[in-house]
């Protein structure tokens, strides 16, 4: 990445996201409307979205969204892609002209099927995809894969989020899960790649806050082959989730408890009251100490089978959730929810470190992460 690109961003941001647990598809205009309310939480230096279920016709292909600084980067990257995948389709990502969105890089998308050769037999397709993403992001200057999951896509840019949504013509997509983000970076003029969400495979993370534990988390996930090319704490969250949920097959609630664990005092108490459960949390902190996110944060994570909202264990950043019928809403502000669903069945403020988990009930997409019924959610 060139120039100021890739610098770790310190930001205070607006977040929103929702899903239909029944898998009903919702027009992308909803997420634009929701994030627009949070205009004041961003400063025009970046924003972005991720939508799930948006490529039903290409749902079995990995959808790569790549931004290129120039044609050279595009050529180099495509060389890698062609070597490693069969390409089912490729095209520019459709955009419309918005006066405030300028200096757009080349934005291209590809629908890919991995072609694993003999020596790649041991690894899964997902790992193969990650490897490719890391390879391009790490080695091709001016190229950046910002979306790589199936039947989903991330869209991000420099600008106010509602403008970015319109720029990417989100009103032309329909998805069962949408997340959105508006940035307020304090130290770097936005670079398109630095905007949220950060993704790997179908994980997309939007985040408000600053992860003080960043380098501990980074060095931890890098042990497992992830490359934090962006040097942003949000990116690391995506990798942590991928590691824990996809590789380690931890239940999603448990993975959330790794990111925002209970305090030792609570664990000690739990060990006295419910020993087995206490042991689980003790072991989680012992083994995944380096995966704990420290510092203020609220995140919304989208993935193929659901949505997760989580705040840090002291709740230094806002997070609110609501329900209406099969819809689960999570946002940094209630207004972002009320804007698109004024008559909620319920609205609540999750406690510090308590995850909000939404899960797709009728999924045809067999995802790796263990699916947990919401009613079984454990609450500390």
């Amino acid at each position: 990445m060139e120039g100021i690109n890739g610098r770790r961003n310190i930001s205070g941001c607006g977040l929103t996201g929702f899903m239909s647990e029944e898998g009903r598809l919702i027009n992308g205009e909803a997420i634009i409307r929701s994030i627009e309310v949070l205009h004041d939480r961003s400063n025009g230096l970046g924003g972005g979205f991720a939508g799930y279920g948006i490529y039903p016709h290409k749902k079995d292909f990995y959808a790569f969204h790549i931004m290129y600084d120039d044609a050279e980067a595009k050529d180099a990257s495509e060389k890698i892609i062609e070597e490693r995948f069969s390409i089912s389709g490729e095209e520019p990502i459709p955009t419309r002209k918005v006066s405030t969105i300028t200096k757009a890089p080349i934005l291209w998308r590809y629908f890919l099927k991995p072609e694993l050769d003999e020596c790649d037999k041991d690894i899964s397709e997902d790992d193969y995809v990650i490897e490719t993403v890391m390879l391009i992001n790490d080695t091709i200057p001016g190229a950046y894969v910002f979306s790589s999951g199936k039947n989903m896509g991330a869209f991000k840019a420099v600008g106010y989020p509602e403008e970015i949504g319109r720029f990417y013509r989100l009103d032309e997509y329909e998805g069962y899960t949408w997340i959105g983000h508006g940035r307020f970076p304090t130290n770097t003029p936005g670079w398109w790649g630095g905007a949220h969400p950060f993704t790997i495979l179908d994980w997309a993370v939007v985040h408000n806050g600053e992860i003080s534990s960043y380098d501990a988390n980074r060095r931890y996930v890098e042990m497992y082959g992830y490359k934090c090319t962006m040097l942003t704490d949000t990116e690391v969250v995506a990798y942590l989730l991928d590691l824990m949920l996809r590789y380690h097959r931890l239940p999603v609630e448990i993975a959330c408890k790794v990111l925002a664990p209970p305090f030792w005092s609570e664990i000690d108490r739990l060990k006295e009251e419910r020993k087995e459960e206490g042991n689980v949390f003790e072991a989680l902190r012992q083994i995944y100490g380096s995966a704990m996110l420290n510092g203020p944060f609220a995140i919304i994570v989208g993935h193929a089978s659901g949505i997760i909202g989580l705040s840090d264990r002291m709740k230094l950043r806002p997070l609110v959730a609501g329900r209406k019928d099969d819809m689960l809403f999570i946002a940094s502000e209630e207004a972002a929810i009320r804007e698109i669903s004024p008559n909620l069945d319920i609205l609540w403020h999750p406690r510090a470190g308590e995850p909000v988990i939404g899960e797709l009930k009728r999924t045809s997409i067999k995802k790796q992460a263990k699916v947990i019924n919401l009613k079984e959610r454990i609450v500390l």
């Binding site: 239940p251 995944y288 704990m292």
Partner: protein, 505 residues
Amino acid sequence: MKSYILPEFKIKRDNERCIECQVCVRQCAFEVHKVSQDGSIYSENDKCVACERCVTFCPTKALTIEEYEHYIKDNANWTASVQRNIWKQAETGGVLLTGMGNPKPYPIYWDHLLLNASQVTNPSIDPLREPMELRTYLGSKPESLEVEISGGSVRLKTKVSPQLKLEVPIMFSAMSFGAISYNACEALARAATELGTYCNTGEGGLHEKLYKYADHTIVQVASGRFGVHKKYLEKAAALEIKIGQGAKPGIGGHLPGEKVGEEVSRTRMIPVGSDALSPAPHHDIYSIEDLSQLIYSLKEATEYTKPVSVKIAAVHNVAAISSGIARAGADIIAIDGFRGGTGAAPTVIRDNVGIPVELAIAAVDSRLREEGIRNRVSIVAAGGFRSSADVIKAIALGADAVYIATAALVAMGCHVCQKCYTGKCNWGIATQDPKLSKRLNPDIAAERLYNLVAAWAHEISEMLGGMGINAIESLKGNRLHLRAVGLTKEEMDVLGVKVAGAPLS
């Protein structure tokens, strides 16, 4: 032979203040202060070791110790101490002995590393208002956990190997009964227990009276195997195989027979008055696979209930050695830097062998991560930790916890006179003389140790809070919170840190 050695120190007695109470006379085991026939007190400079016992205990502060002024013609090579050492050897023909850690002005990397703090974008955390967690677990961790959720309850399916729970990531490093007094051992054990951390027996065995602190004691198995028996292994929270020591990498130990009295003899299981010689290598460890055998022998002997640590001196190839140790099955690697202390070592070894622990930890942590085996072992850094700042920086570099020993001794009263090997420690620490060892009241010493570590813990909490972190594990290996000043590019590369002022990435 006429000695050419000039005194190092000079005692100044302010006669306006001296009340001739003779406290100095009674306190000096080196017999510096004497009462003359007429009852007045005088001092013999050449015996003074500058331990400051008399200065501290003089009720009127009538005493000061100064450097003995003797003119050495200005010379950058042939300094007074160089000449003194040559005279000593010319007069004795022996190896120069010394105690404590390397005093030479090698770079102290801690002092070239600066910590981060939050400003505006990220709230700092006030440890007085918010929980601040310093708890640390040492031991081998599995790469991942298998957790089962069913019917609203969770269950751990992975068996986690034994872990040492530290309420504060500071332990007391190995100091043997023999090298230090029983009272010092007791104070360390009591303080460790109260602090929720650990003391370490060194290679001196474990006195029966200290069995009650077993849950906070790490017992060492060293090359001499002194005091190692079934009960010894049982009365421990963890076992540590001592391969080397920062103050004297590559050489063994020697506890002179004069220090082997009844209690030391019984504890070490050697005859009274016999020299306790620790061989340089373990005679059953000539390679890494031998180490592995010993590790697993100890695990077998304790039925896999206790973590096994391997302590090595920080030497040039420390990263690769550590990798080998991790793969040999150790749960903890303790790395003792070249500033680590000793009760007795040849001066030339202490002052010239080994590498700084800062570089060693960074190299080891990086190497284990590169190999993807960092989870398998905990890293304990040792050797010359002077303050909470050193501790927190070590953790940011990648250590799980640290061992302190010299700082603990200083807390108990040691004034770093480096005469531990004489057995005449005026502070009652490095001695077996009952008249001297009773000077260390374990109540007071334990309290002082507790206070020191509690103070450091408090400071660590403050610094963590300042960085916006409320659990120590989030700092481990978090080198972005360290910045270098006055270091070369190569040093920064080894340390894995950026220069102060450089942008975040």
